[in-house]
């Protein structure tokens, strides 16, 4: 690798301002990026809650009932709403970014990015309906 060096004169003194840790507060798109990255914390937090739910479930109906009633508290509902907001942020930013990550071509033509995103959203709705059905369908006789 050949580095290209300018002719240094005695007067050359390049200046570079250091990057502050608050760089991401300077632009709305940077703030959104940081919120997107932090959404992973809330996604993981819910997976831990789910793990606890499964653990209590395996301990029998009484233990599960104690866990279940905790979910009904306003504190729990409020927390879940915060988690839901960040989970939705993750979903929207993930689906909106998906077309850039893939290059789907039909011959010369590129599949329009909006179509790829729309297909993701449609699949998401169908998966959500399927999960809803799975969890709420009546028990087999």
């Amino acid at each position: 690798m050949n580095a290209i060096r300018p002719t240094e004169t005695s007067a050359a003194r390049p200046f570079q301002a250091p990057m502050p840790a608050t760089w991401w507060l300077k632009k709305p798109s940077y703030v959104l990026f940081m919120m997107r990255e932090l959404s992973s914390v809330f996604v993981a937090a819910y997976s831990v809650v789910l793990l606890v739910l499964l653990h209590r479930l395996s301990q029998g109906p009484e233990a599960f009932e104690a866990f279940r009633s905790g979910l009904k508290s306003w504190f729990s509902i409020a927390l879940h709403l915060v988690v839901l907001a960040f989970a939705l942020l993750h979903t929207f930013t993930w689906f909106n970014a998906a077309p850039q990550s893939m290059s789907v071509r039909l011959g010369e033509k590129k599949v329009p990015p909006h179509l790829i995103a729309v297909l993701h959203y449609c699949a998401w709705i169908m998966v959500s309906i399927a999960v809803y059905w799975l969890l709420t369908r009546p028990a087999a006789p």
Partner: protein, 116 residues
Amino acid sequence: MQKSPEPFFWSLFAAGGTLAAFLTPILVMLTGVAWPLGWAPARTMEHASLHRLVSHPAGKFVLLVFISLTLCHWAHRFRFALFDLGISGGRRTIGFLCYGLAIAGTLAAVLVLWKS
């Protein structure tokens, strides 16, 4: 010779992110908001019906993969986020801690689902 193990970790991040994008919102909505507020039928959170789903091998597999990969997604994204927030040192240690927590969560999920 592969220069970097990053492709493997990134694949876990991508898989976990995809699962989270599709599944986390509906699960959070159902278990944490709709059922507590009475918008979903009571059987959503009934011990018997949930136990039936979790006893099934397919149910165990899906839950294990979901929990494990979403934790891996967090581990990967969080270690980069810490760097973006200005924590430039100890990157290897931070990486080990994050993936370590994801592995711990995975093991916990295996244990819980094994005895379910």
